[in-house]
């Protein structure tokens, strides 16, 4: 237990020192503020680009439009997250810092778990902060969204983000470089979200099912139809982590 805590402490300290913690918070908060602003300004943007003779009628924006922006921005955020997470283990391979650590009495399982817990913890925390900022700012601009439904939406979105994080961590475990890890992360994002999402019979199991059906959740509240995606996502997080541990245990770290 002692050495697991030592590894976990090191991870948090590293995330702080290399500014990843700050970057994750800044990006999440940035999108939380940007989303309602974009929704609010959308009619004005359209107005400014409209040409004479072409009349576009845009309805007055509501808090639903702000949520629309918030959910859409998450995919951009996902791309950025892949780059932040991709170096987690691959960087230690390319910089060769792993070499000394692995000759110490640590369990390889603990090494991967410490990475997973540290990265997912800061992402959860940043997402929580981002959700609170978004909720309050949206409420001040458009009026409050149903809090219960919004909390459920955030939980489901967070699970989706964690699938992506875990897949990128697996990439970082398998790949020899950060770029390789990022590519695996992108492939995971496309495979689980886009490909599975488009195959009708299995689309309900896609981890990003929520990003296509969030309006129903906000309007009508939680429904059993969101369960398959959430359960699949949680299983994926566990399975991908186990594969990472299995793969790392068998790796001979090259010089």
């Amino acid at each position: 237990m002692n050495n697991f805590l030592a590894l976990l402490n090191k991870e948090f300290l590293e995330l702080k020192r290399n500014n990843k913690l700050l970057i994750v918070f800044v990006i999440f908060i940035f999108f939380a503020i940007l989303s309602p602003i974009t929704a609010k300004l959308m009619p004005k943007i359209f107005e400014s680009i409209s040409t004479p003779g072409l009349e576009i009628t845009i309805p007055e924006p509501t808090n639903k439009d702000a949520i629309d922006q918030f959910v859409k921005n998450l995919s951009t955020l996902g791309f950025i997250l892949i780059f932040i997470v991709a170096g987690a283990i691959a960087d230690e391979k390319t910089k060769k810092t792993l070499e000394i650590i692995l000759t110490k009495p640590i369990k390889r399982r603990d090494f991967i778990l410490a990475k997973f817990i540290a990265y997912s913890f800061i992402i959860k925390l940043a997402f929580l902060a981002s959700s609170v900022v978004f909720y309050l700012y949206t409420a001040s601009l458009f009026g409050a969204v149903n809090l219960g439904n919004f909390v459920v939406l955030c939980l489901l979105l967070l699970i989706n983000i964690l699938v992506l994080t875990t897949f990128t961590l697996l990439g970082s475990t398998i790949a020899k470089s950060t770029i390789g890890a990022a590519i695996i992360g992108f492939v995971g994002m496309i495979l689980f979200n886009t490909v599975v999402g488009y195959i009708k019979p299995i689309s309900k199991y896609s981890p990003d099912f929520i990003t296509k059906h969030y309006t129903e959740l906000i309007t009508n509240g939680f429904d059993a139809k969101f369960l398959p995606s959430a359960i699949t996502s949680i299983i994926l997080i566990i399975v991908l982590t186990l594969i990472s541990i299995y793969s790392f245990k068998r790796q001979e770290i090259e010089r």
Partner: protein
């Protein structure tokens, strides 16, 4: 009970045999120089001992405990210093050692004293709070030694500890190793043979994955060494070199400015003063004349050459 026992160890990579059925053991409180040219299999062997690499066959025992790939049990017993230690550049020296002490579960007050001692031993006390990223290569190497000593290991494994350093860094690190030699069992791989003469009690010579020789250094010199005649002159000894080259009792001549190291076929000619008589024919002042112990380098080249000819 030996500190380290290696039995029939083999490592193959895709059909290439990097380490070929080697066996040797290392008694407690001795320093073994693991010698070989680049690519001989030294690092591969060391990485298997440290549990970083999986052996194809064979067995490694540290203090009678079997080493397994990714093992944590024998990792308690070793201290490992890779060729160019990569440390977390965003930590300072002291933090790095604390991190390692935490991994070993060393209690805080004990760790504090221990880290202070290790930093003093490697001469990094004043750089303890400096970021590792700002350390010189020599300082990183010294911190690398300190981290390998945190658990007071039974066996200290050092892979080419000085080969990447400048002369000053080399001297500093060699002094630390000489100090450690008094209390520790050390396996030190190197291709810098003058270091072996200075530090090692025993040598194991590896070439193309095969172990050529394991022996105490002094015995190796007695058994294999051809005698070396050392001559120092007051001016350029080129004429002497030319005259000696023609003698059939000369095996090899090494000239370094005014110093000559002449490997003799046997030392009976010394008793008859044959080289001295030859020298007296030239009008060159002789500052030094005498038999010396051969250096490991000469021995090593002979052994490797012998292996090639076989």
């Amino acid at each position: 009970m030996p500190a380290l026992e290696i039995k029939n160890l083999t490592k193959k990579f895709d059909g290439f045999t990097a380490v070929d059925n080697i066996s040797f053991s290392l008694a407690k409180n001795t320093v073994l120089g693991f010698l070989g040219p680049n690519g001989a299999g030294k690092t591969t062997t060391i990485r298997m001992i440290a549990g970083l690499s999986k052996s194809t066959s064979g067995e490694i025992l540290i203090n009678s405990q079997k080493v397994g790939f990714g093992s944590t049990k024998t990792n308690m017993l070793i201290g490992y210093l890779p060729e160019q230690p990569s440390l977390y550049t965003w930590m300072n020296g002291e933090e790095y050692l604390y991190f390692i002490a935490n991994i070993f579960g060393i209690e805080k007050t004990k760790a504090q004293k221990l880290i202070k001692d290790k930093l003093a031993l490697v001469g990094l006390k004043s750089a303890a709070k400096k970021k590792i990223g700002a350390y010189s290569n020599g300082m990183k190497q010294r911190l690398g030694i300190a981290q390998a000593l945190v658990n007071d290991p039974e066996l200290l494994i050092m892979d080419e500890p000085v080969s990447a350093l400048d002369p000053i860094g080399r001297k500093e690190v060699l002094e630390i190793i000489s100090e450690l030699k008094k209390t520790k069992t050390i396996l030190l791989s190197t291709h810098i043979l003058s270091d072996v003469d200075r530090i090692c009690d025993e040598v194991a010579i590896i070439n193309k994955g095969k172990l050529i020789k394991v022996s105490p250094l002094t015995k190796l010199k007695e058994d294999y060494a051809t005698p070396v005649l050392e001559i120092e002159t007051d001016s350029d000894p080129e004429v002497i070199v030319n005259a000696f080259k023609e003698q059939k009792w000369v095996k090899n001549i090494d000239k370094n400015v005014n110093k000559l190291r002449i490997q003799l076929v046997d030392d009976t000619i010394m008793k008859e003063n044959v080289p001295l008589k030859l020298l007296s024919q030239f009008d060159i002042g002789i500052l030094k004349y005498g038999l010396v112990m051969p250096e490991t380098e000469e021995l090593f080249i002979d052994l490797i050459k012998g292996e090639k000819n076989e």
